[in-house]
Symmetry: C2
Subunit: 241 residues, 2 copies
DNA sequence: CGAGGCCTTGACCCAGCTCAAATAAGGTGG
DNA sequence: CCACCTTATTTGAGCTGGGTCAAGGCCTCG
């Protein structure tokens, strides 16, 4: 745990790049960095399992991670897929309370882990930081709410279209993009079977004239896709993050 | 806004009864109470509509309130139903940012409203309070996650059984309870049509031998109901709150 | 070139939706 | 207290989105 041991300077800079930490004093971030750990994890790596001790937060620099739950009778449900600039783990949990979900790397990822007590302690002494995290949690909660709404109100092709729009680099006109991670995970993320995903994709193709080659999607008219997708949702097209 | 005007003392005591405020100094609660407003609202009252300015938090003393969203094509989705000791509204939103959901009283309710900036300011100066709210939000987020899981993994009768178990006063043996609010709302809360709710109820009757007279339900064997309901869920019977 | 994993297709089935109607339940004026 | 109206809730019948099961394709890597 010496200062020099693992070149902590770059870690502090990398942590500082996350918006959650903007506004913190450099020495605070440096203190975080001393407890931080850089993690390079290949696709398939389990970061932690549901209901097991995990006192870390993970900050994603690159790659993709899925958050999943398991029902008693064995089904797995992917409740989220996260990538660059996202983070996960629960600051607001006491000591070693386990999380109800697990996390697995689904595309090779670079992560930074941080013990959650560090942030909890910073909240105790730094009110504005607490408010910032609170705002972030509020956003996350709103996101989950949207998820509930989607499952209740949208059809399978619409949910797929919604996710494609979220991956889409442009807001209008045309665009191309590559579906990240495999379609089995994608299907579970959207609350449907892989077969249904496949059929949803071809339905979308018919309805909004987008074209698909393997994992690459070309959208000739983003607005047309949004029209098809967003009617059964409470939020108009460029959704909040 | 004089001190004597609306007998503020009882309001402070009533606010103090909410666990969110346990641990606050009496003078802080008293300061909150000076901005608080007691609201008696009859069934049917709209507290606020989606996407409209609302800078208040509401604390429920008695009655029921539904939280709902509206899709662009007109469907309404009830994402939550709340009662005594619950609160709603978003502390972590800036000034007059509107909420993506609305709130309506569905059983005559006694509420206390509080401007959200009050709590946000208290978080700024009181770290432990910030952490407490953070923990509460974490709990709420976990709740939403369960909701997603339920919609993705449970059948209609199972979702109904799950909600009945949540209303159930006992953890084992037998119990009786009354369904609050009307079945139309209940159906929407469970993400199904009223017809489906009705049929789900009779399916539950067959499967777990519970009996129903009007809005009163008698459960002869809570464990049997839990066995039927909780298999397709990640959490064993006495679910976390 | 072959094996295995991923993805798509086809055939069939079922939970839950829709539409239509019949019944309860609650509330009102007489 | 009753007849009447209005709003809930249940029932029936038929339809359909999405799930399940079982084959193929196809792409990748050894």
């Amino acid at each position: 745990m010496e200062g020099m041991q693992t070149a902590p300077m770059p870690l502090a800079a990398r942590l500082g790049a996350f918006s959650l930490f903007s506004g913190l004093k450099p020495e605070t971030i440096a203190a975080f960095a001393r407890h931080a750990q850089a993690v390079m994890a290949a696709k398939g790596t389990t970061l932690f399992l549901p209901e097991t001790a995990n006192e870390k937060l993970f900050f994603i620099e690159t790659g993709w991670v899925k958050i999943f739950r398991q029902t008693l009778d064995g089904a797995e449900i992917v409740t989220d897929t996260l990538t660059s600039s996202h983070w996960f783990g629960e600051i607001g949990l006491a000591g070693s309370e386990p999380l109800p979900y697990g996390a697995e790397v689904i595309e090779d990822a670079a992560l930074i882990s941080l013990p959650r007590f560090l942030l909890a302690e910073e909240v105790l002494r730094n009110g504005p930081f607490g408010l910032k995290i609170l705002q972030e949690l509020t956003r996350q909660k709103a996101q989950k709410d949207m998820e509930v709404e989607h499952l209740a109100a949208q059809t399978a092709p619409q949910r797929l279209g919604c996710l494609i729009l979220k991956l889409c680099p442009a807001r209008q006109g045309e665009a191309s993009l590559t579906l990240p991670y495999d379609k089995l995970t994608l299907a579970s993320r959207l609350g449907m079977q892989p077969e249904t995903l496949s059929r949803a994709l071809s339905k979308l193709k018919d309805a909004t004239s987008l074209s698909i080659k393997g994992h690459t999607i070309h959208i000739p008219d983003i607005k047309a896709l949004a029209d098809y997708t967003c009617g059964a949702c409470s939020s108009r097209f460029p959704c909040p993050p």
